[in-house]
Symmetry: C2
């Protein structure tokens, strides 16, 4: 018979993927902790396979499971010396879910299982704490009633609140045993009323129902949404962990808490966490009561605090990474309930990784592999401007739960947040809630940042926000949130309504009224260290896509080794330039066109000169004019009239030209090299500007390395023609100036035909730069501007694993890159190969580029550090294989 149940101490290799998949992360962790000698309450795990079998069998237990559970329970009884359902020495257990990856708050958990009208009495006697016993019982009924039987949480809370109100007290802890008995009585009545059946008194029935509930929770909507957002496996299933209960609510020598071995927000090596005196664990995670910081234990529970310090040490030594753990103190003895690799902010991830190398815990390679490149994106994003902060109105402070900055309009409802951003992805919103719950996940995903009035550093909002790399200020007691009415009120009586702007500083916990200015981030010394290490390992060069000296400068500071894509069209939009550009487009003859182009020349030359100056010593790849000409023409009636007046032509003439230039599929239209073939004078002007700028720079001692890139080439004949044109213009200018510039000529490979005929192109191109945006559009036949109509559905339906505009489609587009590499190299051994689409800053795509053996990737300035890390990771991973 298949083994579905493993006691914690009978798992051979809990720290392997095989066992993590089999038991779920939590089950494997418990076994691992047991193995490591940590003070874990005994228990057993039902495998994820049992969960999958359960679904296969139409929600029935597989054969043998029941028997194995019973046996494991017997074993547990032996270990604890207690008996399940006994009215003398009753055993209580927790029943928890746990898949191969932790999904905080996503699935359901039952505590105190085994409580009934008899065992509660026994428990009271044994512990000599009637109040704790009845409190546990009422908690159990509430949790079981909600999670297993589906009665809304609020209905229980109402009863509890009423009893407190009647008694005139504020806290749960102010209720005594008699009060709690009253609560239990009314809870049971509620169950009867809602479900038409009595609350189950048979403990085995309780266990069976709880295990069913955990299995079922794998497919609740929250869990499905979480898996989709986090790209987790659908077929993994959940394990079920049944563990002897220990009780933190047995008086003031008891308590419960959650802690991190280091600060998960900053990475600092300090005690981080919270505990609640005389409480059960779920109170902490749910964020309902605001807990005390961990250091407060030193005074209140000094013995337990010492045990905790030992646990801290043991955990980091054993796991060699940040641990996030839950503990319970039962009458002064500390138990470790669970531990897992702690989620952390990007900032913390970097600091912890670098510190641990210094502490000798891990190697540099391990440190690099620990960083999720996407996560560190936020380190490179803007922060609130310190000057603006000084002048701004500070309206509240809360816990700095997840660093970074967020500026947005206030929204109080997660669904609304999601809808607003779906309708306009440019909308910036901040989700403000009393507290968040798993139902809010998608709204949090849509928001710039999260602000809550209740809950601490390990509350749901804080944990999820850190996981998402989103700014979060949690548990701000300064505000009161009225979700339904659509506003919140600060302690100063200020009312902030839906749609008003606020700004959050997640690193300080400050909340400001209004829309504060943002500034560029500064890199921490640890981050700089990590990037240096990345440079030691990576094989790929890292360049940047930059069109202005400013962007080029930022990128260079971030470590860019050149410009991989300088788009020249962006240079044509300002003031006088757009006028000259339009004159050029409206020209009737080559003569007129040349005249207009002559006006553009000085601008372009200056642009290039400035960029060369910033990139002194590094290559600068300049792409010739790419977009269709109609992009430069005015769109509205008013603009057209103005232009007509200015250019002294009729409105109708301009309209006729706009009409003539209109295209059905501009993406596949008259653009790129096609413009240069039909109007070579445009390309001539641009080449002139590049070479003249280079000459000026060189004369000033700047080391210029221009690379002229021809866009949208499909045929080698195009490239041949352009090479002739470029060489002729350059030669003429250089001869006249008496200065020689060494430059390269290459092409964007952004059409399938270019990739397929790369051997021919390489005759005329010294480098290829894969324009993976357009190459994705043409290879897949997806218009980036239109594909939103079906891509979300495609991802939902699993037709696509990821958005191909974010993560390179390696089997299609990637195959073309491989073909182009092979063919290009055949013709020209030393051909330079780069990638300059959005994918150049995407880690998975960078890994592909490394594997294929490209020369460099080029990405936006703020992704340069990410690319450095990702490139190092790719090299390290490849080395391992």
């Amino acid at each position: 018979m298949k083994k579905y149940v493993y006691s914690f101490d009978e798992v051979p290799k809990p720290n392997t993927w095989e066992w993590i998949f089999k038991l779920g992360n939590k089950g494997a962790q418990l076994a691992e902790m047991t193995k490591a000698g940590l003070p874990v309450p005994p228990g057993f795990t039902i495998t994820t396979e049992a969960c999958n079998e359960f679904y296969k069998l139409g929600k029935r237990w597989p054969a043998g499971l029941e028997k194995q559970v019973k046996e494991a329970m017997k074993k547990l009884e032996r270990k604890t010396g207690k008996k399940f359902g006994s009215d003398k020495e009753p055993l209580f257990v927790s029943v928890r879910s746990g898949s191969y990856v932790s999904m905080p708050g996503m699935m359901d958990t039952i505590l105190n299982l085994g409580m009934n009208d008899k065992t509660v009495e026994a428990f009271a006697k044994l512990t000599n704490n009637e109040r704790a016993a009845w409190d546990s019982y009422r908690r159990f009924i509430q949790m079981f009633g909600n999670v297993v039987m589906g009665i809304p949480h609020e209905k229980f809370e109402e009863i509890l609140d009423e009893v407190k109100r009647n008694k005139g007290v504020e806290n749960d802890t102010d209720l005594d045993a008699e009060d709690l008995k009253e609560v239990v009585k009314r809870y049971k009545e509620l169950v009867k009323k809602e479900k038409g059946r009595l609350f189950p008194q048979d403990v085995w029935q309780q266990l069976k129902m709880a295990i069913d509930a955990v299995f079922n929770s794998w497919n609740n909507p929250r869990a499905i949404a979480y898996r989709r957002i986090n790209k987790l496996r659908e077929d993994a299933g959940t394990g079920v962990n049944v563990q002897a209960m220990v009780f933190g609510n047995m008086g003031n020598d008891s308590g419960t808490g959650v802690a991190f071995t280091r600060n998960p927000a900053t990475g600092a090596k300090e005690h981080y966490g919270e505990f609640l005196l005389n409480a059960q664990g779920e109170d902490v995670v749910a964020g309902i009561r605001t807990p005390q910081p961990i250091d407060a234990m030193k005074k209140i529970l000094p013995k337990a605090y010492k045990q905790l310090l030992k646990v801290y040490e043991k955990l980091e030594k054993h796991y060699k990474d940040l641990q996030d753990f839950e503990f319970t103190i039962e009458r002064g003895k500390l138990y470790l309930l669970q531990t897992r690799t702690g989620k952390r902010t990007a900032q913390a991830a970097v600091k912890i990784a670098v510190d641990m190398v210094k502490e000798g815990l891990i190697s540099k390679k391990e440190a690099l592999l620990r960083i999720k490149p996407e996560q560190i994106d936020m380190l490179l994003h803007k922060q609130l401007d310190e000057v603006a902060k000084k002048e701004a109105q500070l309206i509240a402070k809360g816990i700095a739960a997840s660093p970074g900055a967020a500026v947005g309009k206030v929204v109080f409802n997660a669904e609304e947040a999601k809808r607003i951003v779906e309708q306009d992805p440019n909308e910036k919103i901040i989700l403000v809630r009393t507290e968040t719950s798993p139902e809010d996940i998608e709204g949090m995903h849509a928001a710039q940042g999260i602000l809550t009035a209740r809950g601490g550093a390990t509350s749901h909002a804080a944990v999820v926000a850190r996981g998402m790399g989103k700014c979060c200020v949690a548990g701000s007691n300064d505000i009161t949130v009225y979700e339904k009415k659509g506003y919140f009120i600060t302690k100063d009586g200020l009312k902030i309504k839906k749609g008003e702007w606020i700004s959050l500083d997640g690193s300080t916990g400050e909340v400001f009224a209004g829309k504060l200015a943002l500034v560029e981030p500064k890199l921490s010394k640890e981050f700089k260290q990590l990037l240096k290490w990345a440079d030691e390992y990576r094989k790929l060069g890292i360049r940047t896509n930059a069109d202005t000296p400013k962007d080029a400068k930022i990128a260079r500071e971030f470590g860019a080794e050149g410009i991989g894509l300088c788009r020249t069209e962006h240079m044509f939009f300002e003031g006088q330039r757009i006028k000259a550009m339009r004159e050029m487009i409206l020209a009737n003859t080559k003569e007129e066109r040349r005249k207009a182009l002559a006006k553009l020349l000085p601008y372009q030359r200056k642009d290039f000169y400035e960029i060369f100056k910033v990139m002194d010593g590094l290559p600068v790849t300049i792409r010739l004019l790419d977009p269709p000409l109609h992009e430069f023409l005015p769109q509205t009636e008013k603009e057209i009239k103005e232009l007509a007046k200015e250019m002294k032509v009729s409105v109708n003439k301009i309209k006729a030209i706009i009409k003539a230039l209109e295209e059905f599929n501009p993406m596949l239209g008259f653009r790129g090299v096609r413009l240069a073939i039909v109007y070579p004078e445009i390309a001539e002007m641009q080449v002139r500007a590049i070479i003249e700028a280079a000459i000026k720079a060189k004369k000033e001692g700047i080391r210029v390395k221009p690379e002229i890139m021809v866009p949208l080439v499909a045929h080698a004949t195009e490239m041949k023609r352009m090479r002739e044109l470029i060489e002729q213009v350059a030669k003429e200018i250089m001869e006249k100036a008496g200065v020689k510039i060494s430059y390269k000529i290459g092409t964007m490979v952004e059409l399938p035909r270019a990739a397929l005929t790369a051997d021919e192109l390489a005759e005329y191109a010294e480098f290829f730069s894969f324009g993976t945006n357009d190459l994705t559009q043409t290879t897949l036949g997806y218009s980036r501007d239109d594909a939103a109509k079906f891509i979300p559905k495609y991802i939902e339906e699993k037709i696509l694993a990821a958005d191909p505009f974010q993560t390179l489609d390696t089997s299609g587009v990637g195959q073309l890159i491989e073909i182009a590499k092979e063919k290009g190299t055949k013709t020209r051994k030393d051909i330079k190969l780069g990638i300059c689409g959005e994918h150049g800053g995407d880690a998975a795509s960078i890994e592909f580029c490394h594997k294929v053996g490209l020369t460099y990737v080029s990405c936006s300035p703020f992704r340069v550090p990410i690319a450095r890390i990702a490139a190092a990771q790719a090299a390290i991973k490849a080395g391992k294989r």
Copy 2:
């Protein structure tokens, strides 16, 4: 020293490409004729190499050329017993151009060279025909003055006309020697006046200048245009043929003519050609005087006629093909001036090829290879409706110079014709001229047909029109054309102005007023024979693209072996259907959509049933809905209002939906399988319609072979999903009906990614049909709707060899087809591979499909016979290698 000059009798292998390239077609022909014992006047050829050297040297003769020409002239003097420039026995020569392919009328020719004030007198004495001598002299001055010295032809004609007018005569032949002396005198004055120099009297200088002129004529604009239109080599150069003159203008025992060995319009084995008594050859070709039919010679010049009959025989026996030749009769003796493979109409090409097989001259394979598939296109195009002709107004008759029908608006100017059609390729025009000249080529190309008032069956208009496969009625004496005034007048006084419609019947020479109806063509028995032979050799299957039972029927009659592409969207546009379709698009819910689709079901089912009936026993490939939904919505304000009223929704709602469905790049948008994934109910309805129609047909004994084709697939996951959907729907219906239909499921391969991942697609697809239209768009990044902005320029600039939407881009798109074939076959050995883009009817593309080893090509019904021939040619050519 390089040999630049070859006498006709010293060419070793004139019938090889080596010597044709070296000497030009005409030079090689003269040598070949000489070798074959035909009565050719002696002479020599200057090689094409000399012409190319001439251009390389900046229009100077290469070293040695002058010496070799002089030597060859000496040899010619010895052979003829005459002397160049002699005042006793003067030798006169013709100087003609000739490249590797005949370019009729494109380059310049000089006759009677060697005439001057002295030799004319000697010639007069020798021939005892003063008139002929002076006539030759005046012709020479006129031709030399025009061609070599650049004086307009009209200026000479004015002088000639004035002399005739003064004398009160109509024909050139009515002028006597004295008149012609007057003409010569005034011609010389004209030369002096125009050029400021005397007409050259030195015969060697004449020869040098004439050879220069022939060299220069290689690059005149007419020749360049002709080469572009006919896709001839730019670098071939022209040979120069210098040949002893024989004279057809030596009295009424002399004459000149052109003839074909068979009728080049119909292919009939009959004497075809014309001659002019007492005239020089250029008069015939230029079409200035209307000549007599060849059979008239029998009476007028019986001895020469007998010699001609022998020449006819010798020519066909030697060349085994239709010959087009020029001859001159000098005092009763017939000389063959030149012969070449005769251009012919498609109809004639087919008949001659089939007849020659029957006569044992050539093999079936040779017959098949002789047919240009593009040329026979016209045999499959429409002809004037006989019924309409009876009711129409016959306004003129002319020579049936090139068969077929043309209906169009009258245009009198070639440049205007070209411009009109460039602006709107759908414009139908007929070029009407008194006579055409080489300058008119591009206008003729643009026209549907050509009508001339002067010139015969071998006039410029007739020859060029036949070459182009265009309908032509030539030399209609019933009309007088006033080009500049913009009208022509018929013999009945009817005035037809520019822009009015006329209709031509090129097979009968009839001209009708108005826009006559056209009918489908009938295939001649020879054509049917040829198609049968084609079927013996071809390996490729031939299917058709047909969306209606009518088209399917036509295609089947033309020999289609199945439907390769039945587009279902065309079925949604009529009456009630478009209403239901719009209802479907406007639906808010799946429920509403299903309701609207249910209305479409009966229409679709009936469509498919009718098609199955026509295609009984043959496969029918049905493509599921492909275009973006916005194509079905109304465009104008008025239509939108009507629809709103009809659908009982607000105008704004419809506008909002239209706006929501708008796309930036519809070609790459929400269409094809993407619709079926997002709205599976659409595909379900279509599959239901197909299977239900098939069941109905099968029950009636029709052998149905449906093939369901999924469009625009990029990912195997899409194909997997669709296969599941199709199989499920089909299974359900078949089980309910108790009838089993055997059907196939496949996909269009029309995106690069599909081709690149064909191995994955083949898991779920039993056939691939290459949609080469879209595959060309995506592979090259060319929008078919927009590419007109640069494709013509690209072809002109030789960036592209051909329009990739007409002729398959084998190195790009073709490479993807090869990749898909290889990968697809790896997964599924018996996968069916077809092509269903426009290229399926293009000969060059079909040859590629044969080479790659596809199963079939599918093309429009009228191209099915072309495809059969092209497929046979591909197989025969491949067999030869």
